[in-house]
Structures are given as structure tokens and as C-alpha cells.
């Protein structure tokens, strides 16, 4: 193979690999950043999205108790940590597909989506487009998710 063609192919492969590993910047709506439970619901309400807090929720793999946020008839779990470092520490234990957390394996009822904003870690298990769109608009793309 001529060296020029080989170099072009190499560049193409490198480019596509880069495009895969670095998704485009998420389309977060303008407004103050979501960093905790209060700012999350505030931003959702500002976008005219109905959302209200319900019961507390405990997950065996997270170090804090969360709260369930009711949106479009479905539950979204929001875990507020003392600080952003603690939230990132728990987030770092989650695999990219969201199926493993530390040394635990999950059988979810639907595809999991994990978001991080400041000291807030958000989990939505499901595939409702309205919820996924709303969460992405205030928190950006999930850092871990499955189809």
C-alpha cells in the first residue's frame, strides 16, 4: 500500500475514534448550572417542566440517601452529596454502560442514565424521551448510560 494512502487511512481511523470517544458538547439550556436538588427543580420549573419531590430513596451502592423527583409520571432519582468531590467519587465507580457500580452488578428495569451536576448525581432508569430531553437540557448528556 502506498505510504500516502496508508497515512490517509490512519488519519481517518484516528478521526472516527476521536469522534466516538468525545461526544459533541451537550446542548444544555442557558441558565444557572444545576449543582444540587434545589437548583435542579428550579431549572426544570423554569423550563415549564412539571416536577415535584416525592419519597426518599436509598441505593445500596451510593453513600447518600436520595430523593425521588416525579416528572411526567415517572421517577427520577437525585442524590445530593456534601460536596462535588464526594459526588464525583461515587460517579467514578459507575461503569460507562451503567450496569456495574463498584463491585455490584445490576439488572435494571430499563436502560439506566446517570448525570452529574456539581454535588448532585442523578439517575433515571427508563427511556421516556420527554424525561431524557428534560434532563439533558439541564444537566447535559449522561456520563454513563445504556440503550
Amino acid at each position: 500500500m502506498p505510504p500516502r494512502i496508508a497515512l490517509c487511512l490512519l488519519l481517518l481511523v484516528g478521526r472516527s475514534a476521536t469522534a466516538y470517544s468525545e461526544p459533541s458538547t451537550p446542548s444544555v439550556s442557558s441558565g444557572p448550572a444545576v449543582t444540587d436538588q434545589r437548583s435542579l427543580i428550579k431549572r426544570l420549573h423554569a423550563l415549564n417542566i412539571e416536577a415535584s419531590w416525592e419519597d426518599e430513596i436509598d441505593q445500596p451502592f451510593f453513600s447518600v440517601t436520595g430523593k425521588t423527583l416525579k416528572m411526567y409520571g415517572d421517577g427520577v432519582q437525585a442524590f445530593e452529596y456534601p460536596d462535588a468531590v464526594s459526588a464525583k467519587t461515587d460517579a467514578a465507580r459507575i461503569s460507562r454502560d451503567g450496569m456495574k457500580i463498584g463491585t455490584a452488578q445490576l439488572q435494571w428495569i430499563g436502560p439506566p442514565h446517570f448525570y452529574l451536576g456539581g454535588r448532585l448525581l442523578v439517575l433515571y432508569v427508563g427511556h421516556a424521551p420527554s424525561i431524557l430531553k428534560a434532563l439533558e437540557s439541564v444537566l447535559g448528556k449522561p456520563f454513563a448510560a445504556s440503550e
Binding site: D58, F61, K100, P111
Partner: protein, 257 residues
């Protein structure tokens, strides 16, 4: 009962180039139970309700078809809600753990890459609903959650693609076809890969009531190297001992009744 004395051994030296090693794709990292021989027996602590009992028995039987391990259901040592772990074994529990998004969770404790204990929780909050209160879902989740503490990962995590015929495959429809209610050959092959080596120590709890011949067979098998093939009833087995530099001893064993 099979006796360690009652076997016929055929050995031959093989001069070969390095064989292609096919690693299982659904190993969970490098996690495995430390043990000094195969097959080893892992205890599954029964902390489940009578509704779940047949599924636990069935899953235990399914995974025991592996030629490298057996599982045995024993009395549980915890309460279903707390589901605390016990060294050297896996506690299996069911309770209403809430609307938290998961049907089942399998947790392991490790020392390096060695699993030291495990816990399986089955979430009755969802299994009480008409969607999940079916034999298909119960079989899939029980089978999958017990498969994880053996060292297995999922084969596939996409809900909507065709079933692979394995309980280690995510699906929206456990019945398929093909059905995802039981392990498939790929899972058994992966277990063979995971447990193809022996350790110098064990993290598996001592098992009472195991068949004496299993230990004898395992000890003898250790001398022959790793088990590479076996027929379904384990009467005919092929072991491979690597002597290095492409030299191998293959030991073909026909066990007597």
C-alpha cells in the same frame, strides 16, 4: 459413585505450536473464587421465600452443569431485608427493596481479584407487579444474579436486540425465542476460562456433605493440568498440562462408575 481408582487414562505427548486462546467475553474483570482444585462447590445461602425457592434450586442446578464448579443450596445466614454477607459463600435474598429501578443486584467482596463473599438481592417491589411476576422474569433474574458472583459479566446489555439464549443477556422478553432463562454454552465456556488455573489458597467456604469422590477427582485432575473438555455427564474428560516450549501432555480420562 465414581472412584478415583476407577479410571482409564490415555496420555500422549503433543508437540504443537501455541494454541489460540479464546478468552470468554463475559468475564467480570478478573474476579474469581480462589480455590486449589476443580470442580469446587459454592454454597448459596437460601434466604428467599417459598415463591422463589424453586427458582433458586433451578438456577443452582443450571450453574452446576458447569464442569469447573458446583453450587449447592444451604440454609441462609441472614435476613432477607438486610441480606448481610457471609465469608466464603453467596447469600441469596428477596424482599421489597423499593422502586429503585432494579430487579436484582449482585454484590461481591474481593481481595485482589479473589471473590471472598457475595450477596444477591431480588426486588419483590417489582416482582409483585403483573409485568415481572412471571416464571420467565423470575428465572432470568435469579439465574443472572447468581451468575455474577461466579465471576460472569453480562453477555449483552441492550434490552431491545434479539436474545442470545443466555440469562446473562439483557432483554425485554425473557422467553424470546430464544429463551434467556438459563445459561448458555458461552457462559459455561467462560467459566472454564475463568477457572482454568488453580490458586494456592481458597476463598470458598468449606462445604459439608459434598461427594467424597469430587475431591479425589479434583486432586487427581490437578496433577493432569487444566480440564479442557468433558462430556455432559463428566464421564469422559480431557486434561491439558503445559510443559512449556509448545510441549503439552494431554490426559484423556474415562471415569468408571
Amino acid at each position: 459413585m465414581k472412584s478415583v481408582r476407577g479410571y482409564i487414562v490415555v496420555m500422549w505427548m503433543v508437540l504443537a505450536v501455541s494454541p489460540t486462546v479464546v478468552w470468554g467475553s463475559n468475564t467480570w474483570g478478573n474476579y474469581h473464587w480462589a480455590r486449589t482444585n476443580n470442580p469446587f462447590t459454592l454454597k448459596l445461602g437460601d434466604n428467599v421465600s417459598s415463591t422463589w425457592d424453586p427458582y433458586l434450586t433451578e438456577a443452582s442446578s443450571d450453574w452446576s452443569k458447569s464442569i469447573v464448579l458446583d453450587t449447592t443450596v444451604v440454609a441462609g445466614q441472614t435476613t432477607p431485608q438486610s441480606c448481610k454477607s457471609t465469608n466464603g459463600r453467596v447469600e441469596v435474598c428477596n424482599a421489597k427493596y423499593g422502586y429503585n429501578g432494579w430487579l436484582g443486584i449482585a454484590s461481591i467482596w474481593v481481595s485482589g481479584s479473589h471473590i471472598t463473599k457475595g450477596v444477591v438481592k431480588l426486588n419483590d417491589t417489582y416482582f409483585a407487579t403483573s409485568t415481572y411476576n412471571t416464571p420467565g422474569w423470575r428465572r432470568l433474574v435469579m439465574c443472572q444474579e447468581i451468575g455474577h458472583p461466579l465471576g460472569l459479566d453480562h453477555q449483552d446489555v441492550i434490552f431491545t436486540n434479539p436474545n442470545l439464549g443466555s440469562c446473562m443477556d439483557y432483554t425485554n422478553n425473557p422467553l424470546g425465542p430464544p429463551s434467556n432463562e438459563h445459561p448458555n454454552q458461552h457462559d459455561y465456556d467462560t467459566l472454564e476460562t475463568i477457572y482454568s488455573h488453580l490458586d494456592t489458597t481458597t476463598t470458598v467456604g468449606q462445604t459439608t456433605g459434598s461427594t467424597p469422590s469430587a475431591g479425589d477427582r479434583a486432586w487427581q485432575a490437578g496433577q493432569w493440568g487444566r480440564l479442557v473438555r468433558s462430556n455432559p455427564d463428566r464421564r469422559i474428560e480431557l486434561y491439558e498440562r503445559d510443559l512449556g516450549r509448545g510441549h503439552k501432555v494431554l490426559t484423556h480420562v474415562i471415569w468408571a462408575e
